[in-house]
Symmetry: C2
Subunit: 565 residues, 2 copies
């Protein structure tokens, strides 16, 4: 082991062969230097005091659900495990730390840093993609205090945004409803390159169906979507510039030599229609050229952005002309995208236009043409669209989703709860900021109807809750809030994802698609009143009676007695 | 050239040797796949129509200043240039694109993709770190339309967050004032790993003094700061556990064998003081141990976080005892950090405590001990602290700064303004979304007092504004808004940062510190009423009379005539 580390071996450090090899972090910028300087100054101080190997337990948790909601999705675990599996300071990194600390620091410290890895760290965690609640540890990290603190900043960074954006995606899905296709289009507005890549990953996890982000598609196997932009439309001047005009019939049986003329014929038929002809007169020729050209390139997946000039007087008729020409050749167009204006109204008008075509020209299925809407969508606008009534099948959501515009940060923290088997508490004048001490086990208790009822934290050595046995669940800080529960099912939340040098079994990191399925299933399992947008019911988080007493004993012990003057 | 590309040469593509070599993007995840799928579907469609090499000009700009202000800092250019200098699709990437497009797409397209690079792209840009305004192109990108569109998403991604967070940093600096030390502490709350690294880079550019982010310190040479956390404090139980107690005098003349006792002696002296003794009685022993230990580790740079238990009844007296003991041994402590509660009040109380020590114990300079404040600071709280009156010397700012909490996205767009020498306009029912057509030159006109007065855009072939010559500046969309200006200085804004195959001179990318200096100098040069937080005066952005006429001619030409029904 020591030799492997000394060789700078970048493989997994301590796991026997029965486990799958863990690859490195998705972003190569995730290194041991992705941390706050104070983790290194503290490490030096611990080392100097001979305290660096003291066994410490930290809890990673958050204090408040985001977006005014009552739930959060836990995400980012896999990236944390990938990070620690390869945690090792390079010589170059050590030299940089040396240059950043005062020259009075003893040289032997850098020898200590050279030897550090995570072989003696144990990580228990709630599985990624779980629905989680404030105060309950998402991860419990145990190990030599100096090493565990060196992990803090990267862990919190990797969990914070991942959990926030997954939760945001789940909330968007909740408002949009199950039947809609949700597309993440946020890369260009994300906070930096991997803000974009992480957003795509975690939005898919939270229930989106696809992304526009090619790099994320490749990295995580997320379905990709995308057609064309406004620039594409305005890059054409008129159909006359299209020189390659032929298109083979879908079944290969024949070739249409002049697809451009076929489109024009259809446009004239639409104009001549008693109903449709009243809606538009001359359509925009740039747009007609662009759609025709796009149809020639993608006859089997034709989807057009119809709002460059005027949705109903140009975009929709132009689209339909191309779609009908394609239909003549055996191809089924996919639909349109609306990117501005009154999306509800436009979608209904477009739907009527499509339905009229289906009836008037006998094109079966044309009325069901897909309508995608985009343009600054968020939870509120989705909700408003639902109330207005709309005909949108698919939503493309960007800025608000990926930057978590409604609340761009989650307050994940990393608190010391025990050192050398001594429980520690972090006090605060603000009671919501008081930490829950002790190395703990956490359980989710389910009721008769199959819904989770309450999460309960208990000391490590307490007997776990049992199915059918009444247990007292206490609010950690409020004396009067408590309830008896008889669980129908008991789920232990924290599982061992990194056993360190212990002989515990390591949970394998599930494939990304399984994490996504877990997430979607967990969301469905929650009692609906916890999930609703308006005035959701808080889910209960509690401690055992024994832990409650201990917290309050420790609290009194640590808090200074005030003196009124 | 072609051979070099075929070899997959990852060096700079077409620049002669006289230019400095450009390294790759800071984040290795910035690749040609960091884009929206539709850039590839459009590329295929252009290629299929034989249109891919048509010469197009795109403007990259934004429409509205962020944070309710009237200015923005342009940042991210260097990363864009680094990206295009190495823009080349790998075989693996091409295979992935092939698998993402319909199987009907012709195979020869992938051969075309294989040959693509940016040797035929020209980029004109405002220098990074400049103060910029809505509608004026930050970058003008010209080249084969398919290639230029493949750059869009990455460019917008790289500019959006960079400019947003730099502007946020500049705004925080403006409120804090020049004399305060500003520290960026946001890594753990940033939107992913390079959200954190970019934040540290661009906050420094926007006027911050240091960061806690070690990786950013190493990458960009940013000064690092950091001491210890609350966990460090609570990891100690009492001073008895400190075993290594000796500390050498700063001048090396002697050794104090029991620094712990020296600290205790000082604490008793403080308690015995007539004035100070009334403020506190028993201080927390964990904290005293932690501070003592930290002082032993960093005697020359002792800075303590004093709010773990109680600032005035424990943290400050404990800190002072250690600081005074260090003072006996010739070391000067740095100061304290406050991380909760009423920062203004606490800083004033702590200052009084320090000043009393200076007077009562004759420790020269002790009253000037540095006070750092942190805990959810933002523009508003800095402003409120200023109004309350405080004694803080240094602010540590995290979440609100790096996630741009007040507005987490900037709306940078990338619009086609000309193709094959034909100007193009993007219309919209919303007049602020209409694009300004034509390949343009942009100038900043300065007045007699040295302040910038107005930015003006003109057609490429118009004569540029001249010093001392009266010129009409027109609002691009509002007929009645216009003004004559006699500039005292004319600055051409767009400079050639990537000449492509043209023989124009390439601006070298300045070192990071120069960009930062430019930014700080530009901010100082602005007329103060544009910069103030409350009701700032909008800076004027205009077009030449000729461009104005042309915009409106094209607009009328493209817009459909409505029919009221």
């Amino acid at each position: 082991m020591a030799a492997a580390v000394a060789n700078g071996l970048k493989k997994e450090q301590t796991r026997p062969n029965k486990y799958a090899v863990i690859s490195g972090p998705t972003n190569p910028m995730v290194t041991p230097l992705l941390t706050d300087l104070y983790q290194f100054t503290m490490a030096y101080s611990y080392w100097k005091a001979g305290k660096h190997d003291e066994r410490a337990v930290f809890d990673l948790y958050f204090r408040k659900n985001p977006f005014g909601g009552e739930y959060t999705i836990f995400a980012g675990l896999e990236e944390c495990i990938k990070f620690i599996a390869h945690f090792k300071l390079t010589e170059d990194e050590i030299a940089f730390i040396r240059s950043s600390l005062p020259p009075t620091c003893e040289g032997a410290f850098y020898g200590y840093l050279r030897g550090i890895n995570c072989s003696d760290v144990e990580i228990y965690s709630i599985p990624e993609g779980s629905v989680v609640f404030p105060k309950v540890p998402l991860m419990r990290i145990e190990g030599p205090i100096a090493v565990v603190q060196l992990l803090e900043t990267a862990f919190v960074n990797l969990i914070n945004y991942a959990s926030l954006v997954t939760t945001n995606a789940a909330r968007h899905r909740f408002v949009a409803g199950k039947s809609k296709l949700l597309l993440e289009f946020g890369l260009r507005r994300a906070q930096g390159p991997d803000g974009g890549i992480s957003a795509s990953k975690y939005c898919y996890m939270g229930g989106f169906d696809a992304t526009s982000n090619v790099a994320a598609g490749k990295l995580f196997g997320i379905p990709l979507r995308g057609t064309h932009s406004h620039a594409f439309v305005s890059s054409f001047l008129s159909p006359d510039e299209i020189t390659v005009k032929s298109l083979k019939h879908h079944d290969g049986s024949s070739v249409c030599k002049d697809f451009v003329s076929l489109v024009k014929t259809w446009l004239n038929k639409l104009k001549g229609s008693r109903i449709l002809g009243g809606i538009f007169s001359e359509t925009n020729q740039s747009e007609l050229a662009a759609f025709t050209s796009y149809g020639l390139a993608f006859p089997g997946s034709f989807l057009a952005l119809v709002d460059t000039y005027d949705v109903m007087r140009s975009g929709v008729p132009n689209f339909c002309a191309v779609a009908l020409a394609l239909n003549d050749l055996g191809y089924r167009a996919v639909g349109i995208r609306l990117d501005s204006g009154d999306l509800a109204y436009q979608s209904c008008e477009a739907r009527k236009f499509f339905q009229t075509i289906e009836k008037e020209f006998g094109v079966s299925g044309f009325g069901k043409m897909s309508i995608t809407a985009s343009n600054d969508l968020n939870e509120e606008t989705l909700d408003a669209l639902n109330k207005q009534g709309h005909e949108v099948d698919s939503f493309g959501i960007g800025t608000h989703l990926v930057t978590c515009y409604a609340q761009p940060a989650l307050g994940v923290v990393f608190k010391l709860v025990e050192i050398n088997n001594q429980p520690r508490i972090k006090l605060s004048e603000d009671v919501t900021k008081v930490s829950i001490p002790c190395k703990k086990r956490c359980f989710r208790l389910y009721g008769k109807e199959g819904y989770p009822l309450v999460d309960i934290m208990a000391g490590e050595n307490e007997p776990p809750p049992k199915v059918g046995e009444r247990i007292l669940c206490r609010h950690p800080f409020s004396e009067s809030k408590r309830a008896y529960v008889v669980p129908q099912r008991v789920e232990e939340l924290l599982k061992c994802f990194w056993p360190g040098s212990s002989d515990k079994k390591r949970e394998d990191l599930p494939p990304f698609k399984e994490i996504r399925e877990r997430c979607i299933k967990q969301l469905e399992q929650m009692r609906p009143d916890h999930m609703r947008k308006l005035n959701p019911t808080p889910y209960k988080v509690s401690v055992s009676a024994k832990l409650y007493d201990f917290i309050h004993f420790l609290w009194l012990n640590e808090a200074p007695v005030g003196e009124l003057q």
